[in-house]
Structures are given as structure tokens and as C-alpha cells.
Subunit: 348 residues, 2 copies
DNA sequence: TCGCCGTGTCGAACCGGTTCGGGAAGCTAG
DNA sequence: CTAGCTTCCCGAACCGGTTCGACACGGCGA
């Protein structure tokens, strides 16, 4: 059933039907009622393709995320869900595009074939060819995360530097002197993933300020890698008493590694990091962490993108979130250091 | 840049450009080369909207999943990823639609506005109005899961009955006599979610066969609910020595509840269930479980849907998967029952 | 030399909407 | 009575592709 059929049955022209439905020109009450009746009877809905062709907008947003090769983390999941829901509020659909890079066929289709009105980029890198490409085309997009030079572009993000710094200070305040950083996989760090880099920067900076002895590690996005990572940490420096992590997926493995090494959390060893609340609450003891507000990020990204679409030429906006650390149960005062006995006993 | 522009620059008609690019009619080598050259120079890509309008196909698949109100589980995430990747292989994009029911605006748009060529339904219910609706319209779709009467429809699914039965038999073989079932949230059970119902059926059936004493529980999709659920289990019957669960998201909470009740897994208490491998490996001790092959399911669903799209009128097909139980470390022989002392000591 | 056939290209119609300019009808003011 | 203004609707063009029928052209056999 197309608009012509409706017009015929209502005894009016196609354009009148169009105006009656869109309200872009006044239509008399009588004809509007007649048209509405036919529409309701036939359950007519205009074709999205035809409408998209005619007015040059698809009412669809693209969500560009890395291919599944890299395991998805819980944060990404929450994120996708919140983007889809927020987009629905604005009557946008969401098209998924698994793209690592610029030259991906999927990415090219999204842009070249004009399948979407705007795009949201996940898993941003400091030097991001996708972001550069979109910027060069002046294609409406919002990044989740900041590139190395975010000025003049639209983004929402987490202040990873500040968050990890807060974690380090938290541990230092508790008396920890030798701590480790468990980062995302090396492959992602090398690829320039923002969170991995800025997180590492924040760690290094805060540790230097507090004069801590530190080591940093990359760790695969799975439990087994987390376990071996802890083994390496304790092998490299048995006097380590705490760690900070960005790696949600490895968290269970980190805990397992500590348990198998006979380190009790939080008595012998403190763990903290930047992790979504629902995952922080999954482990025992529950993780003291800066809770990643994935759902907020998704919603904000959509808000910004819609604003950009509605007001072409508007000055760039952004949101930098710095959620506070939620104190749970995985950190505690540094006790007697088991091996070297450097520090004095701080627990009476 | 549209096809007319290409035609003008190549000095041919629009139809010739179309045929040169699609290959649906022969075009002389000379003109094809000329056209290709112009296309390459301008980086021309045909508009998806126009193409969709002209040939009545959008090259897009709809993925209908429940709104985020229900927390997403890890399984759903893997699933979404594998669907998107599999669809990309066939040159389909994936449009996300958060829909609980038939009457959702989002669902209506998907179908009524003909935004997608076919749909994949997640989180199927035994009586599913979305599935009924699609069937009534003869709209190409594949369900993840079976409704109460799956005959004549296209679906892929897990044999939840058999999987949970296998878990029960596994525990019974180890000598457990009093076990509990931890299901998905009551709200989902009442709504008729397939996995919750068939899982429960399998549990009840196998328990009856083995003459076990059982209790069944519904449990929220989060760690806190898992913890209180274990408290209820041990309160209702302290002699319980094992549990079977379908509830991935509660798993961490279940473990925590057991630990706080002083039950050591697997010495005092065995845990098993139907859970994706990557989550089963997250907990310590790692969960002995029937691994949910979410990625396989996603791929198979896309394969089936594409087949259905390519061969309209083809007889319905389906895939019922029954992954084996992966023995990890969360189950062991039933020991002395701590409270009542009913059974003889089975460990020499 | 003429008719026939195959090859390569073109023009026009079509997909299903939106939008613009204009015209008919009805009403008011001069 | 008519000029002028609203109000309401129509026809036509357009968005950017695809596809069908037709036609020009060259080579072939009769």
C-alpha cells in the first residue's frame, strides 16, 4: 500500500495525503479526517526508503564499533543498549557497523552510500583515522572518547587520567607503596586506544607524585590472562600490595590469581580500578572502583549527535565525565609487606 | 554525486552506467573502462536509499532485542556481535530494534516502514506476539529460541531441557540428593521466556527421574540477587549440596553467598548450569557448565535468514544445539551432609 | 543487394514518497 | 460587480537509482 493508493481511496491527490500526514501545509478538517480514516483502515505506513530518498535523511544513526575479534566488554554492551534507547526517543534507528578502520567496507558503506545521518564512534584511538576521515568530510559524528587533539570536535568521554589518578591516590592514602597497573591488551595499547593510553598516563603521573614504586602490565581481555598477569606481577615484585586496572574482562582472573598466590583481598592486597558498577559488584570482595557510567555516555553521545544534526554549523560540544570512586570492599590499609619487610607495620 | 553526474562525465546515459556497474547487461569494454575511471576519480558510491527504493530491498537485517530495562547478559552481547559480523559477510547491515512486544513503535517502524528485509528475534517467549505477528505477515524472520509450537517456523536455539537435564544428572551422578534450581527473574518466567520455562521443565523432569529433593528459585539478573538467592536456598534447606543455574548475571552473587555461608565450592557445595564459557571462566573455581555457544547461534541465525531471503517459499529450517558440559572446577562429589546427616558418607 | 541477427546503447517509466507553483472556490472590501 | 485575498487542493517535478523496450549499427549469409 503506497501513498497513491491512500489518495485514490480518499478521493484526493497524493500531495494532499502527504500534507495531511505531515501537517506541513494546512488541510481542511474534512479531508484530513477522511484520509486518516483510510490510513487507519489499511494500516498504512510510509516507506522509509522512499522518504529517505525524498528528503535526504535516513533517520538512522550509525554506531561504529570494533569487530568482535576483540572480545566485547560489559561496558560496551551497556553502551550499545543505551545508545539504541536514547536514539529511539528521538525517532532514530541505530545501524551497527563493525569497523576497525577507515578503509573497512562496512565503514565505507555507512558513509559513501549515505545509510546514516550521523555516526557515533566507539573505542576511539588517540590517532584515529575514522575520526579524521569524518572530520575531513564534515560528517556529523560524535566520538566516545577523545583523540590526541579533540579541540573542535564533538565527543563524550571519561577522564581516564583523573580516574586512574584517583585510584592511585586512594591506594597511596591507604599506605600502599608498591603497586601495579593492569592495562588493556598490548595490541590495543599499541594501536593507540585512548583509555589504555590516558589511563597509563594518569597512573604514571600520580605514582610519581606520590613517590610510589610501580610496574605496568598489559593484559588480555579474559580471565586466563588476568590470572597469569597477577602471577607475573607477584613474580616480578612479591612486595606489591595493590593494583589498579582498566581491564574489566580480566577482573575475575586477577582475583583468582591473587587467591591462588595466597593473597587475601583486601587484607594482603588491594585491588581497584575503572570498571562498570555491575561488574565491580560481581566479584568478591566487591571492587572499589570508579564506576564507568556507560549508559550515561551512550545517552549523552546521542543527545550531542542529535543536536549536531538539528543545528548544522553549531559549535562543537563535549562532555567529560569524572565519576567518583565507589568504596566497596576490595581495598584496605597496606599491612606488613610479606616479603621484604620494608615498611613499618601500620596496623596496630 | 549521483549516477547522472557519472553518466555526463563519461559521456553515456544513466542506464549504461547502471548496467556497467551492476553487470546485469553486457557493456563494451571501452565504455566500461571509461565509466569505471570516472567512478574511481569521483569516488562515487550509489545511494543506499535510492537503490532500496528502486529494487525493494534494503540490504538490512533487523535485530529485535528486549529493551535495556532488563539487564543485558554477556550472552546477548556475544550474540549481537556475531550477528553483525555474519551479516557483514553477506553484505547486510544490521539495524537494532529494542522491542519487548508487538505494539512497540520501534517494531512497527521496522516492519511497517519496510526498513529491513528480514528480522532476527532475540529472547523469544513460548507465546510470542512478535513471532506470531511476523508469521501472520509471512515476514522473513528467524527466531533465537523456540516458541511453544515451533513447527513451520524458522529458528535456531538451545535445547535447554536437555542441557539442564544433563546438569542435574551430572550432580546426581556425583551423589547429590538435594539440589536447587536458580532460574531467571520471576518477571521473565511469568512473561513466558523460553529458556526459563524449558530450563525449569528439564530440571523438574531430571530431578524426578533421579528421585532428587529439589527446590526452584527465581533470581534477579544481578549479583546482589544471586547472593540473597543463595541465602534463601540455604535457609529453606540447609542440607542442599548443589545448584543448577541459567542465570549468568547472578553467578558472581551466588558464589559470594556460598562463601559467606561458609560453603566451599566444590568441597561442600557444587554449582553448575548453562552459561557462556567466558563467564564460566570468570568465577573461581571456574564453573562446570554447558557452554552457551552464543556466537554460533548468531551466525546460524544469519545463515538461515539469508537463506530464507534468497529462497522465498523454501521450507522452514532450524538448528537445535546441545553443547556438552565442560568439566571445570565447580562440582565435586557430595560429602557428608552438614546438617541432617541423611546420606551415608560417600567419600571414603 | 537485401534481410536477419547480435551487440551495445539510449530514453522513458518506475519505485514511493516530498515539495513547489499555481489555480479554483469562497469571501471581503471598494 | 469586480479586484484582491484566503483557503484548500491539485499536478508536476524531483530525489537517485533500476529495468524494460527499442533502436542504431555492423557483420553475416542468401
Amino acid at each position: 500500500m503506497n501513498i497513491g493508493e491512500i489518495a485514490r481511496r480518499a478521493g484526493v491527490s497524493r500531495s494532499t495525503v502527504s500534507y495531511a500526514l505531515s501537517g506541513k501545509r494546512p488541510v481542511s478538517d474534512d479531508t484530513r479526517r477522511k484520509i486518516q480514516q483510510v490510513v487507519d483502515e489499511l494500516g498504512y505506513q510510509p516507506s522509509a526508503s522512499a522518504r529517505a530518498l525524498a528528503n535526504g535523511r535516513t533517520s538512522t544513526l550509525g554506531l561504529v564499533f570494533p569487530p568482535a575479534g576483540n572480545h566485547y566488554t560489559g561496558m560496551q554492551l551497556d553502551f550499545i543498549g543505551s545508545v539504541v534507547e536514547a536514539a529511539a526517543v528521538y525517532d532514530y534507528d541505530v545501524l551497527l557497523s563493525p569497523s576497525g578502520v577507515d578503509s573497512d567496507r562496512s565503514f565505507q558503506r555507512l558513509l559513501g552510500e549515505r545509510r546514516v545521518d550521523g555516526a557515533i564512534l566507539m573505542e576511539i584511538r588517540l590517532e584515529d583515522d575514522r575520526a579524521d576521515h569524518l572530520a575531513a568530510l564534515d560528517f556529523p559524528s560524535v566520538a566516545i572518547g577523545r583523540t590526541a587533539r579533540p579541540e573542535g570536535s564533538w565527543w563524550v568521554g571519561l577522564d581516564h587520567i583523573a580516574l586512574v589518578e584517583a585510584c592511585v591516590h586512594h591506594l597511596a592514602d591507604l599506605g600502599h607503596r608498591r603497586i601495579a597497573f593492569v592495562n588493556r591488551p598490548e595490541q590495543l595499547l599499541r594501536a593507540g586506544y585512548e583509555s589504555a593510553h590516558r589511563g597509563l598516563d594518569g597512573f604514571t603521573k600520580a605514582a610519581a607524585e606520590r613517590g610510589l614504586t610501580v610496574r605496568t602490565y598489559c593484559c588480555g581481555d579474559d580471565a586466563a590472562s588476568g590470572q597469569t598477569c597477577v602471577e607475573r606481577i607477584l613474580h616480578d615484585d612479591p612486595a606489591t600490595t595493590g593494583l589498579v586496572t582498566l581491564n574489566e574482562a580480566a577482573l575475575g582472573g586477577l582475583y583468582r590469581g591473587l587467591a591462588q598466590a595466597g593473597r587475601h583481598v583486601p587484607r594482603d592486597f588491594s585491588v581497584t580500578g575503572v570498571v562498570a558498577a555491575r561488574w565491580a559488584e560481581t566479584v568478591t570482595p566487591q571492587l572499589t572502583a570508579a564506576d564507568v557510567p556507560a549508559a550515561d555516555l551512550g545517552r549523552l553521545a546521542v543527545d550531542l549527535l542529535v543536536e549536531r544534526l538539528d543545528h548544522p554549523g553549531a559549535p562543537p560540544r563535549n562532555h567529560l565525565l569524572t565519576p567518583p570512586i565507589s568504596l566497596r570492599a576490595s581495598t584496605g590499609p597496606a599491612g606488613v609487606t610479606p616479603a621484604v619487610g620494608t615498611g613499618a607495620d601500620t596496623t596496630p
